[in-house]
Symmetry: C2
Subunit: 188 residues, 2 copies
């Protein structure tokens, strides 16, 4: 296993998968990783639905415009405030479930699997079909859907990463740096 930062840097969203299942033991390890995430006051407001049945995966694909990838497995990361250990989850469940989602992605990368994070919450047009296909009750909220599988191709490390010095400030935010940046930036 590489250095942790190299592993994090090499992780990529994978959208094409081999036509073979993910071993249940690997899926279980992804869930262990997910539940090892931190949460506000350790409230652990999460539940997970693991989907491996082709018919259900196909139903998801047919209803989700941005999730039409051929992954043999998916994990829906959901929030359920009724099983959270305390009320901190009320404010922080999105962050807690995002940390759990990110742990799944990192664990997948470290285990040689590919994955991609499909955003579900807060868009009603994505949440509704996920709710319906997975039979989620009203008080269980799907935050994300993570597709998992064996990647068909391993992208070579592209030599650079997403690190951008201009996004880093030291000690305090510097309006001067900000103004200088605005003159040159494309996206502002």
């Amino acid at each position: 296993m590489p250095d942790i930062v190299d592993l994090l840097r090499s992780r990529r969203s994978v959208r094409a998968y081999e036509d073979r299942p993910v071993a249940p033991e690997l899926l279980r390890r992804l869930l262990v990783a997910a539940m090892a995430a931190p949460s506000a006051s350790n409230s652990q407001p999460w539940e997970f639905v693991v989907i491996t049945r082709p018919a259900i995966l196909e139903r998801l694909r047919s209803k989700l415009l941005f999730a039409r990838y051929n992954a043999p497995a998916a994990i829906a990361v959901c929030a359920n405030l009724r099983i959270a250990h305390n009320s901190a989850a009320r404010h922080y469940w999105v962050q807690d479930c995002s940390a759990a989602t990110q742990n799944i992605l990192i664990a997948a990368a470290g285990l040689g699997l590919g994955s991609v994070w499909i955003g579900v919450y807060p868009l009603p047009s994505v949440m509704a079909p996920v709710r319906q296909v997975l039979a989620l009750p009203e008080d269980v909220t799907p935050l994300s859907l993570v597709y998992v599988g064996h990647p068909t191709e391993h992208e070579p490390p592209n030599g650079h990463d997403r690190y951008e010095e201009r996004r880093v400030y030291w000690e305090q935010y510097e309006p001067r740096k900000r103004r200088a940046r605005k003159k040159n930036a494309k996206h502002e």
Copy 2:
């Protein structure tokens, strides 16, 4: 470096730190890790303020009830929709910045550092002092504050982890399992 899932499982919130600084090169690696996080449509809506000056750390500590730890460094993970690469950030910046925060925590663990995630957004009582101390402009929103340092003690792995079978459903949500659980659960 251990297996990735073991690393994720062994990560703990660290609240007591040695009285020595974190090398700038290590802080930079944490930022590389942060910016390697996925974001919705790759919008990368994040900015980071790294704090190492004792006077500023002390000002944060004095104003934040739940952040009075003696870390020699902190990284504020902020969102700035004006520098995001596209409008997906409008819906997903909390999740994107949470993934970046989680990457910092994991990188720290892998590099032998300790860290703890202080929730900032969405509580105005926490956001206001962070904004003030770090001189954040109105359109930059602090999501989290991560304290970083060399841990004074390494907690031994506690033999179990946070994995809970009852939080996992296969293929679809099962109301039956849910009902059975409710009878026994403490927190429902």
